[in-house]
C-alpha cells in the first residue's frame, strides 16, 4: 500500500509520524533496529489478540523506500494530556479515569510478552551509565521482587491515552509492554510525572493508585530506584542528575 505522507503530526529522534485517512504511519529512521520495530509490532499484536482493551489495531508493517514503517489504525480524538492541559479544573476526574484505565490494563494477562524483571535486569546489567556497586544494589533489590504476570504498559502516561469525542478511550504505544508487577508499572508512571517536574500530580497519582489498587505505597516505592535506573539507561543527559539521586539509595542492613 502506498501512503500519503504529507500530514506529519510528530517528529521524534527515531521516527516521523504521519496520518493518512484512517491510518497512522510511524516511519522509522533508516538505521533503526529492525528487531525493535518488529518487536513493537509483535507486542501490539499480542495485546490486541489476548485482551479486549481498546487499542488502535495494527494494520501492517511495511517498508517505504529504505525505511521501515508501522501502520496502525488512526483514532480520532484528543490525548488525555491535551484534555488535562485544557481543562485544569477537571484534573481530578481525568486522574481518576487514568488510574482506572491503568488498573484495567493491569488486570489482563498476555502470557507471551517478556517478563519485566528480565527486561529490567538486562537493561541495568548492560548499561555503563551506572556504577557497578550501585548496579549490584539495584539488581539485588530487583532479584528480591516477586514474580508477577500482570500486563504492564511500561510507558503509561496521559499522552498515550486518546479520548474520542464520544468519550471512548484508546491506549496507544505498546512498545514497552511486558508482563510483571503492578507496582513497577505504577512506579514508572510516578517517575514519568516527576521527571516533568509535576511533583504534585505525581504524588496525587500515587496516592490514588494505591487507594484504588489496595497496593501499599511502600511496594511501589521499592520499585522506584529500579525504574529510575532503567530510565537512566536511555541516556538522556537532562535527566541524569535527577535520576541518580533516585537511584542511589541503600538497602537496609
Amino acid at each position: 500500500m502506498s501512503y500519503n505522507l504529507t500530514n506529519e503530526i510528530a517528529v521524534r529522534a527515531s521516527k516521523n509520524i504521519y496520518i493518512d485517512k484512517t491510518s497512522v504511519i510511524k516511519l522509522f529512521k533508516e538505521n533503526y533496529s529492525k528487531a525493535d520495530i518488529l518487536n513493537e509490532a509483535l507486542n501490539l499484536s499480542r495485546v490486541e489478540e489476548n485482551t479486549d482493551l481498546n487499542i488502535p489495531k495494527l494494520k501492517e508493517v511495511t517498508k517505504i523506500g529504505k525505511r521501515w514503517a508501522l501502520v496502525t489504525e488512526y483514532v480520532e480524538g484528543k490525548s488525555m494530556q491535551e484534555l488535562m492541559d485544557k481543562n485544569p479544573k477537571d484534573i481530578d476526574k481525568y486522574l481518576e479515569m487514568f488510574v482506572d484505565i491503568q488498573l484495567e490494563v493491569l488486570s489482563k494477562k498476555v502470557p507471551l510478552l517478556s517478563r519485566i524483571k528480565d527486561k529490567f535486569k538486562r537493561k541495568i546489567t548492560e548499561t555503563d551509565l551506572i556504577d557497578e556497586d550501585v548496579k549490584y544494589e539495584l539488581l539485588q533489590r530487583l532479584e528480591g521482587m516477586k514474580n508477577h504476570t500482570k500486563l504492564c504498559h511500561g510507558d503509561f502516561n496521559p499522552e498515550n491515552i486518546i479520548i474520542t469525542e464520544k468519550g471512548k478511550y484508546y491506549i496507544c504505544d505498546w512498545s514497552h509492554a511486558t508482563q510483571g508487577n503492578a507496582s513497577a508499572d505504577s512506579a514508572r508512571t510516578f517517575l514519568l510525572f516527576s521527571i516533568q517536574g509535576k511533583d504534585d500530580l505525581a504524588n496525587r497519582y500515587l496516592e490514588l493508585f494505591c487507594l484504588k489498587s489496595g497496593i501499599e505505597k511502600g511496594n511501589v516505592q521499592r520499585w522506584i530506584p529500579i525504574v529510575a535506573a532503567t530510565q537512566m539507561t536511555k541516556g538522556k543527559e537532562e535527566e541524569r542528575e535527577f535520576l541518580s539521586k533516585w537511584i542511589n539509595v541503600a538497602e537496609y542492613q
Partner: protein
Amino acid sequence: MKKEKLELVSSIEQLEDAILKVRKAEEEFSKFSQEKVDEIFKKVAIKANSQRIPLARLACKETGMGCMEDKVIKNHFAAEYIYNKYKNAKTCSVIEEDKIYGIKKIAEPVGVIGAVIPTTNPTSTVIFKILLALKTRNGIIISPHPRAKNSSIAAAKIMLEAAVEAGATKNIISWIDVPSLELTNFLMQNVDLILATGGPGMVKAAYSSSKPAIGVGAGNTPAVIDDSADILTSVNSIIHSKTFDNGMICASEQSVIVLDKIYDKVKEEFKKRGCYILNKEETEKVRKTIIINGALNAKIVGQKASTIASLSGFEVPKETKILIGEVENTDASEEFAHEKLSPVLAMYRAKNFDDAMEKAYDLVVYGGIGHTSSIYLDVAKEKDKLEKFYSKMKTCRVLVNTPSSQGGIGDIYNFKLAPSLTLGCGSWGSNSVSENVGIKHLLNIKTVAERRENMLWFRVPEKVYIKRGCLPVALEELKEVLNKKRVFIVTDNFLFENGYTKVVTDKLDEMKIEHMTFSNVEPDPSLRTAKEGAKLMREFKPDTIIAIGGGSSMDAAKIMWVLYEHEEADFMDMAMRFMDIRKRVYTFPKMGEKAYFVAVPTSAGTGSEVTPFAVITDEKTGSKYPLADYELLPKMAIVDSNMMANAPKGLTAASGIDALVHSIEAYVSVMATEFTDSLAIEAIKLIFEYLPRAYEKGAEDLEAREKMAHAATLAGMAFANAFLGICHSMGHKLGSYHHLPHGIAVSLVLNDVMRYNSEDNVAKMGTFPQYKYPNTLRRYASIAEYLGITGKNDEEKLEKLLQKIDELKDKIGIKHSIKDYAVKEKDFLKTLDKMCEDAFDDQCTSANPRYPSIEDIKQLYLKAYYGGNKNEL
C-alpha cells in the same frame, strides 16, 4: 609457607573452579582432629586481631562510611570474642555422649559455606564468618560487596595465609574478586550453606537459591525509656550505641520513646551530651535528605551528624553526636521512623507506658520485625512492665538497660548472649534462625542412638495372704496393725445371700470395727452401680474397702474406690489407650488416701485381687471403660480357697480357663520378663493338673481348690506386669457382643490365636525394645516342655500343647467353637466387622507378640466361630 599464586575470581568459570578447589580442600580439612582445628582457630584469630587497625582503616577509606576507631572495635570483637566464646567448644567428631542412654552426638562440617558480606561491616563480618567456618571445619567463599571488596578480600587473604601457615589445607578460604550479582547468585546456588548478611533483596535471593540459608534481616530498634529508668545511664547508653560506627550496626537504636513524665529531662540530657535537637524546619530538611521515595539515601549511611546536617542544608557544630528529630508518626509516612544507618534518631513522647509499647511495637513491625528492641527501666521495681514489654515485642532480642549496638552483638553487656555479627530475626523476619548465629548453625549433628531396653517393673500388692483359712487371720491386721475403724464391703447378691460375707462381718464385729455392706454388684458392673456405691461410701466414710467376689465385685469396688477418693474423675480420660503405661498422657489420681483396699476373691480366675485393672460399663451408652493403672492395685489380697470351695461347676470351668489364658498370654507377651515368666508357667502347670479335679470334685477336693486359687493369683501377678494379648482383645468383644462369660469367650479364640502367634514369618511383630524377633513358637514349646510334653521339634510340641488344651476344655465341659455356644451365624457375621475393629483397638493388643491387622482378627474370629479344621475360608 609456600605462597601460591592466587587466581582471580571474576567469572562464572573461575568461580566454579574456586568452589571446586575449596570443596577439595574441605574434604581433607573435614578430617582434622579437634586439636589441630583449635590450633588453626587460635592462630587465625590472633592474626586477624593483630590486623584490626589496618583493616579498619582500609574499610573506612574504601567505603567512606563509619568511624575508623569503632571499626577497630568491631574487628577486635570479631576476633577476640568469637575465639574466646568457642575456644573450648567441641566441633569435631564426638561432641556429646551419654553411655547409659546409649546416645552420641557427632559433629560434622556442612561443607562449603557461601558468605555474603555487607558494606557496613566489610572486615569484621569476614573475620567473624571465617573464624566460625574454620572452627567447624568448613570451607568458605567470601562474596564481598563491590563497594567494600578490597577491604573484605584483604581480611580474607590475611586469614587464609594464617590458616594455611597454621596447618589448614590450602584453598580452604576463597573469595570473589570482582563481585557481581551474577557471581553472588551462582555462589549461593553452588555451596552447601549460605551465611547471608545484607539487605532484604539479598537475603531473599539467598533463601530462594535452593540451598539452606542463614539470612538475617533489617533492624529498626526502638528504645523505650520508662519513667523508672535511670536517665543518665539511659541517655548515655543510647548515645554510646547510636554513635557507634556512625550508626551502622543493624541493632542500633533508630528511635527513642520517652515517657511524658521524664521527656524534658531526657531531652535536656541528650542536649547536654552533645546531641542536636532539630527544630521544625531542620526536621523537615533532614526528612527530605535521609529518605528518597521511601528508600534510604545511600549518601548518608555511616556519615557523621554534621555531614548529614550539611547535606540537608544547615550547619550544626562539627562534634555533634546525633541529630534528633522530635516526631509523632510511627508509620512509613514519617521518614524518621525508618532505619537510618546513621546518627539520626527519632524521638517520640509517649503518654504512658502502654502508649510507649504501642509505638515501639509499630516501629518494629514496620521496619525491623524480628530484630531487636530495647528498654530502660528499673528492673527490680518494674518486673511487670518488663514482662509486658518482652511479651509484646516481636523481636528476637529484647535488651534491657543496654546500648543496643554493642548489646545486640552479644557478650559485651551480657555474657550469655552469644557474640555474633549475624543476628537472626526468626520467622517474623522470614529467617531460619532466631538467635545470634554461631558455630552450631554451621554443623551437621549426627545422632548415634543405640538400642536400649525399657526399664521394666514388677508390681503386686504389698500384702498377699494365701492358704486355706487365712481370711480371718489376715483381717486381724486391719485392727491390730492398721488400726482401721470403718469397713465398706462390696459384693454381689448371691454371695451376700449365701453367707460369704459373714466370715468377714463376724470377724469385724469381733474386732468392733464398724461396717456396711453393698451387695448390689451385677455381672458386668455398671457405672450407675459404682456411683451408687460411691455415694454410700461418701456417707459412711469408710477407711477400708473390702471387695468380696469374682472379677465383677472386685472391679466394681475398685471403681467405687476411685469415685470415693476422686469424685470428679473422668472415665473417658482414665480409659485412654496407651502405648507405654509410663508415658501415658493421663496421670491417674493418687489412690488410697481415704481408704485401704482389700480384695478377697471367691473364684479362681480373674486375678483382679492382684491386678491394676478394672472394667466398668456405662449403662447409658453401653461403652466399657477398661482402666489400667498401678494406682488401682489393691493394697491387700487375701486368697483363701475356703471362699471358693463351693463354687458351681460352670464358674470353676470359666474362671479356671480364664486363668489359663492369662498365664499363656502373659508368658508370650512382648513385655514378659523372668519375673512374670516363672509365675505364668507355674500357674499353667497347676491349672492343667488341678483344674479338672477342682471341676470334677468341687468342695471334696480342697487341695485342688487351693492349688487353683493360687494358680489364678500367680497368673494375675504375671499379667499385672506382662499384660495380655489378642485372646483378651478378641474375647472382650466377643463376650460383650454375644453375651458369653468372659472365661469362655477368651478360651474360644485361644487355640487359633496361638497358631497365629507362633508363625515364624509374621507380617508385623509387636513393638517393644525387649522383643527382638518373633520367638513365640519357642515360647509355646517351652510351656509344653515344662508340662512334660515331648516332640521332635517345636511345631510338634505346640501341636501337642494345643491338643492338651482341647483335652482340658473337654474335661471341664468347655466347647470348641463360638457356634457351639448357640451364637447365630447371622448375628455373628453382622457384628463381625465392628468386633474386629474394637478388638484391634483393645488395650491388650499392644502386648501381643504379633501385631495383627484388622483382617487378621477377622480371620481368627471366623476360625473360632466355625471351629476345628473346617476353617479354610
